[in-house]
C-alpha cells in the first residue's frame, strides 16, 4: 500500500512535511481559499523560524494577492503577537506560517480571523468548503495590490503588556532570569520584555536560523539545559517558551522544571487575587484551578480541548483569566489568546508582589499529580470504546463534552480519541503520582478489553 502522506487539515490550520505533502501549490490554494473567504482587505502574514518559511510565505502571498487582499508582512513574530496585531490593526485576518512544536521537517499554515481570533469551528467549516470546492474569487489584474512590510510591529504588543503590569514593582526587584526561547519566534520579543522589566537575563536558544536545539514543547524532558543554567546563573527563575511562543513553562530557583500545568495555576491565582470573575479552562486542566476558584468563590467553565473553545467561553462568560494546562495562559486584558509573554509578565509580577521565591509559590499547587499518556487505537474503534465506557460509568460524575471525563472527589480521568492520529489520549490527576498512574493503567486495560470484544 502507498504510504499515506502526512498532510493534516484541522481546526487550527494545515500542517505537512515539506517536500512531501505540504507543497507551494497547496499553500497557494489554502491562501486563495482564505482570501476568498475574507474578501479584499488587510491580511497580516507572519512566520516562525523554519527554513521552509520563506518558500511557503511567498506561495501564501501569491494566493492573497490574487484574491485582492492587501498582505502586510510582519516577519518572524510570536503567534500571540500576530493575533494581537490583527485586532489592533483591524485587519481582516492573518496567516501564520508555522508548525508549532512539530519536528523541523514539518511546516504549516494557521489561519486567524477578524478581531485576532482563531477561526471558530463553524468558520473553519465555511473556509474549508471554499478550499474543497476550489472556486476562488480571483480579482482582475488592475485590482491586485502590492504587499506592505511592517518592521518592529511587535513593539505594540510589548507596550500593551507593559501598560497592564506593575512595572515599577517588578523592576525594583532586579530579577535574574534565564530564558529558553527554543529557537522560536519568542526570541524576537521576550528578551526585550525582560529588559523593560529590569531583569538581568541569560538567554539561551535565541538563534533564529531555524535549527532547533531541542524539541520545542516546553515539557520537563526538553528543559535540561535551562534547569542547569538557572542554577549556574543563580537565577530567580527560568522561562521556557515553545516555538510559537504561545505556551510558557517555568523552572524554579532550585533548577527544577515545574511542569507546564503550573504556569496556568499561578496565573489564575495571581489574577483572581486582584480581580474576581469567572475562569475558563479546558477539561484537561488541573483541579488546582477548581480549588483556586472555590477560594475566590468564582465559577470555573470547563470547555472542549482547543484554544478557540476556551477563548469563546471566556468571551461569552466575561472570564478574567483562563487557559490550558499545557502552559497556555490567556489574559484578556492583553488579548484573548494564549501568550507566553503575558504569562511571563504575570509570573514576574506575582513574584515581585508576593516577595516569595518561585519554589514556595509552586509548593501550594504540588499536591496534585497530572499524568498524560496515549495508546494506539484505530479511530473508529476509539469512538466506540469511549461510547461503551460512557455507558459503564454513567452513574459516576461524567462529562462527554470532549471524549469522556470521569471525576471523583479528588481525582479524574479524561479519555479522548485524537482527531489527527489513530490514538486515544489518557490524562489522569490525583493527589499521588502512583494513583494517577494506576488510574491510567486501569483504563488502558479496560479499553483494550472493550476493543477485543468489538473486533
Amino acid at each position: 500500500m502507498k504510504k499515506r502522506l502526512p498532510l493534516k487539515v484541522s481546526v487550527s490550520g494545515v500542517r505537512g512535511i515539506i517536500g512531501e505533502s505540504l507543497t507551494p501549490q497547496i499553500a497557494a490554494r489554502f491562501a486563495s481559499a482564505f482570501g476568498t473567504y475574507l474578501g479584499p482587505g488587510q491580511v497580516l502574514i507572519g512566520q516562525d523560524t523554519r527554513p521552509s518559511g520563506t518558500m511557503l510565505k511567498k506561495a501564501v502571498l501569491s494566493g492573497l494577492l490574487a484574491t485582492g487582499c492587501q498582505p502586510v508582512e510582519v516577519g518572524v513574530l510570536p503567534i500571540p503577537t500576530i493575533l494581537f496585531l490583527t485586532h489592533e490593526k483591524q485587519a481582516r485576518g492573518a496567516v501564520v506560517v508555522t508548525a508549532s512544536h512539530n519536528p523541523p521537517e514539518w511546516n504549516g499554515l494557521k489561519f486567524i480571523g477578524p478581531e485576532g481570533l482563531y477561526l471558530r469551528r463553524s468558520q473553519v467549516e465555511e473556509f474549508l468548503d471554499i478550499f474543497h470546492q476550489g472556486e476562488f474569487t480571483f480579482v482582475a489584474a488592475e485590482r491586485i495590490k502590492s504587499p506592505l512590510q511592517e518592521k518592529n510591529a511587535g513593539e505594540l504588543h510589548l507596550e500593551k503588556i507593559l501598560s497592564r503590569l506593575k512595572v515599577r514593582a517588578i523592576r525594583s526587584r532586579g530579577f535574574r532570569v534565564v530564558a529558553d526561547c527554543a529557537n522560536g519566534a519568542g526570541a524576537t520579543l521576550l528578551p526585550q520584555l525582560l529588559r523593560e522589566l529590569g531583569c538581568e537575563t541569560l538567554l539561551i536558544n535565541t538563534d533564529l536560523s531555524g535549527q532547533f536545539a531541542h524539541q520545542s514543547e516546553p515539557v520537563p524532558e526538553n528543559l535540561g539545559e535551562l534547569c542547569r543554567r538557572v542554577k549556574e546563573f543563580r537565577a530567580d527563575l527560568g522561562l521556557a517558551q515553545d516555538a510559537d511562543a504561545d505556551r510558557l513553562a517555568l523552572v524554579d530557583e532550585k533548577g527544577r522544571a515545574l511542569g507546564e500545568d503550573l504556569t496556568l495555576a499561578l496565573a489564575v491565582a495571581h489574577v483572581l487575587g486582584k480581580k474576581r470573575g469567572p475562569v475558563a479552562v479546558n477539561l484537561s486542566a488541573s483541579m488546582a484551578i477548581d480549588d483556586l476558584a472555590a477560594r475566590y468563590r468564582v465559577p470555573v467553565i470547563r470547555t472542549r480541548i482547543g484554544e478557540i473553545n476556551v477563548v469563546e467561553a471566556m468571551l461569552d462568560e466575561g472570564a478574567v483569566i483562563g487557559g490550558e494546562g499545557n502552559g497556555g495562559v490567556i489574559w484578556p486584558e492583553i488579548h484573548p489568546c494564549r501568550d507566553s509573554l503575558t504569562a511571563a509578565g504575570l509570573v514576574l509580577e506575582m513574584l515581585a508582589e508576593s516577595q516569595k521565591p518561585l519554589s514556595v509559590l509552586a509548593a501550594e499547587f504540588n499536591k496534585y499529580h497530572l499524568l498524560k499518556d496515549k495508546m494506539d487505537c484505530p479511530a473508529e474503534l476509539a469512538f466506540r470504546a469511549v461510547v461503551e465506557l460512557r455507558r459503564r460509568y454513567q452513574s459516576e460524575k461524567i462529562s462527554t463534552l470532549d471524549g469522556l471525563k470521569i471525576s471523583w472527589p479528588d481525582s479524574w480521568v479524561h479519555l479522548r480519541p485524537s482527531n489527527t492520529e489513530p490514538i486515544i489520549r489518557l490524562l489522569a490527576e490525583s493527589r499521588s503520582a502512583v494513583r494517577s498512574r494506576r488510574l491510567i493503567e486501569r483504563f488502558k486495560k479496560e479499553i483494550k478489553s472493550i476493543i477485543r470484544k468489538l473486533v
Binding site: 515539506i18 497557494a28 521552509s52 518558500m55 511567498k58 506561495a59 502571498l61 521537517e105 485590482r143 491586485i144
Partner: protein, 449 residues
C-alpha cells in the same frame, strides 16, 4: 471562454482566469524540476499582477531547492544578459510583452540566456503534465537575493558595444514611449549615457498602460506629435518588457514595426555580414537589404525562440521579425530593445543621415495585417482549410500556410499567444495587399459561420 496559451517558451493567459497562483507554481515547479541545481533569476515587467506571479514563481523555485535572484521590475533583455553574467541555470521573465494589461505570462529562459528551445520546451511541458515535481525538504532555506539596480552592469556592457562617443557627438534629441512598462525610468540612464537629450512619455513603471503596450503606428500618435513639437531627431516606442521597438521619423511619420529590422540590418550588416534570420510573416523589405550585402535570408517559424535557435545554428548575423523584435549576434541572442535603439542612433550618427533617409533606402512594400478570433480547438484546422484558396501557388507550411504569389505573399497562421488566426499579406501595392487579406478573412468567416 478562459484563455490559456502554452507555447515553446512559456505560458500566457488572463490573470485570475487562467494565470492563477497554482498554475504559476505548477509551471515554475516544472521548470525548477527540469533545471540543475543553482541560481535562477526572476524578473517582471511593471504589470499590477507581476508581484502576485513573482511570489508564486519564487515559492516554486525555492521549493525545488534553487537560490533565487530577484531582479524586480526588469526588461527581458536585461534578464537574458544577466543569466550569463551570474552563471545562472535559468531565468523566468514575467511579462506578456505586447498583450494588454489584463494578461500576464511566464517566459522561461535557459542558461544561455535564450528562450527555451523546442526540446527544452517540450521537456518542460512533459514535467508539467506529469505533475511530479522535485520539491525539496528544505533543511536549509535557499537564499532569495534582491538585486537593486540590476540594469547597471547591462548598460555598462551595452555602452561599450555601441559607438557611444560618435552617438553622443551627434547630440540627438530623442522622444521615447516605454508605455509605463519595464523600460520606463531606465531609458533615462540609457539615453543619458549616449549623450542624447530625452523627451520621455509614459515613463513610470506603474503598469498602467495608456495604450496597448504594442509598438506600432496605431499607438504612436503621442510620440509623433512630440517629435514634431520638439523638433526631435526621432521617436521610439517600446513594448512592456523592452524587447520590441517601433520607430517614428524626424518628420513625425509613424513607421510600421516592420521597418525596425531592415533599418537596423541596413547598418549592422556592414559591420557584421552574415545570414539574416527572419520569420515567414515578416516583410520582404529585408530581402532587398540582404541582397545589397550579398547575404542570405533564412525564413523560419514565427517567434523569438525559433528565430534565435536558427540564428545560433546557422551562424546568423542577426535575427528579427516584423513585430519590431531584433536580436544581434554580436550583442546577445535575445530581442533587445535597448541594443536596437542604440544601433539606430549609431547608424544615423556614423552615416550622418536622418532616419527618414535611412528608410528611403529601403524599397517600399505595403503590408496588411488582420486577425480573426477563433476557438482554440479549430485554429489549426481552419488554417489548413485555407490551402484550398491557392490550388496552384507555391506554399510553405513550416508555420501555418505561407503562399508566394506574383507580386504578393500571404501568411495565414494560428497565433501562439492568443486564440487568433493572423492573416498577413504584403505587396508593392497597398490595394493588392488588402485584397489578399480580405479574401482570406472572408473565407475564414464563412467557415466560422
Amino acid at each position: 471562454m478562459k484563455l490559456l496559451k502554452l507555447n515553446l517558451s512559456g505560458v500566457r493567459g488572463i490573470v485570475g482566469q487562467t494565470i492563477t497562483p497554482e498554475l504559476v507554481i505548477d509551471f515554475a515547479s516544472a521548470f525548477g524540476t527540469m533545471l540543475p541545481a543553482g541560481t535562477v533569476l526572476v524578473g517582471r515587467d511593471s504589470r499590477k499582477s507581476g508581484l502576485m506571479v513573482q511570489e508564486a514563481a519564487v515559492a516554486a523555485l525555492l521549493s525545488t531547492g534553487h537560490e533565487v535572484r530577484n531582479l524586480g521590475i526588469c526588461p527581458t533583455p536585461v534578464i537574458q544578459f544577466l543569466v550569463r553574467q551570474h552563471r545562472a541555470v535559468g531565468a523566468i521573465s514575467i511579462t506578456a510583452g505586447h498583450n494588454p494589461a489584463e494578461w500576464n505570462a511566464l517566459n522561461f529562459i535557459n542558461s544561455q540566456g535564450t528562450y527555451l528551445n523546442e526540446f527544452q520546451g517540450s521537456e518542460l511541458l512533459d514535467i508539467y503534465h506529469l505533475g511530479r515535481f522535485a520539491h525539496q525538504k528544505l533543511k536549509k532555506s535557499p537564499a532569495v537575493i534582491n538585486e537593486l539596480n540590476p540594469e547597471e552592469v547591462y548598460f555598462s556592457w551595452l555602452s561599450h558595444k555601441l559607438r557611444t562617443e560618435e552617438i553622443a557627438r551627434a547630440r540627438f534629441k530623442v522622444v521615447v514611449d516605454p508605455c509605463n512598462g519595464a523600460g520606463a525610468g531606465l531609458v533615462n540612464k540609457f539615453f543619458q549615457a549616449l549623450g542624447c537629450e530625452l523627451v520621455a512619455v509614459n515613463n513610470e513603471p506603474s503598469g498602467y498602460f495608456p495604450h496597448d503596450p504594442e509598438p506600432r503606428p496605431r499607438n504612436a500618435g503621442e510620440v509623433a506629435s512630440l517629435v514634431r513639437a520638439t523638433g526631435a531627431s526621432l521617436g521610439f516606442l517600446l513594448n512592456s518588457d523592452a524587447s520590441r521597438v517601433s520607430l517614428v521619423t524626424e518628420t513625425g511619420e509613424t513607421l510600421s514595426e516592420e521597418y525596425t529590422l531592415p533599418v537596423v540590418a541596413g547598418y549592422y550588416l556592414q559591420q557584421q555580414p552574415g545570414p539574416v534570420i527572419t520569420s515567414l510573416s515578416t516583410s520582404r523589405m529585408i530581402e532587398a537589404v540582404a541582397e545589397k550585402y550579398g547575404v542570405p535570408v533564412i525564413r523560419t517559424r514565427v517567434g523569438q525562440s525559433a528565430l534565435i535557435q536558427v540564428m545560433l545554428q546557422e551562424d546568423g548575423a542577426l535575427a528579427g521579425e516584423g513585430s519590431g523584435g531584433v536580436a544581434l549576434r554580436n550583442f546577445q541572442p535575445a530581442f533587445d530593445g535597448f541594443a536596437v535603439m542604440g544601433l539606430v542612433l549609431e547608424a544615423m550618427a556614423v552615416q550622418q543621415k536622418k532616419l527618414s533617409e535611412l528608410v528611403k533606402a529601403i524599397p517600399r512594400y505595403h503590408i496588411v495585417k488582420d486577425k480573426i478570433v477563433c476557438p482554440p480547438h479549430r485554429l489549426h484546422s481552419l488554417v489548413a482549410e485555407t490551402r484550398k484558396l491557392y490550388p496552384r501557388a507555391e506554399v510553405n507550411s513550416l508555420d501555418g500556410l505561407h503562399v508566394t504569389l506574383k507580386e504578393a505573399w500571404v501568411h495565414i497562421r494560428a497565433s501562439s499567444t492568443e486564440p487568433l488566426i493572423r492573416v498577413i499579406a504584403e505587396s508593392p501595392s497597398a490595394a493588392r495587399a488588402q485584397l489578399e487579406v480580405d479574401k482570406v478573412v472572408a473565407f475564414l468567416n464563412r467557415l466560422l459561420g
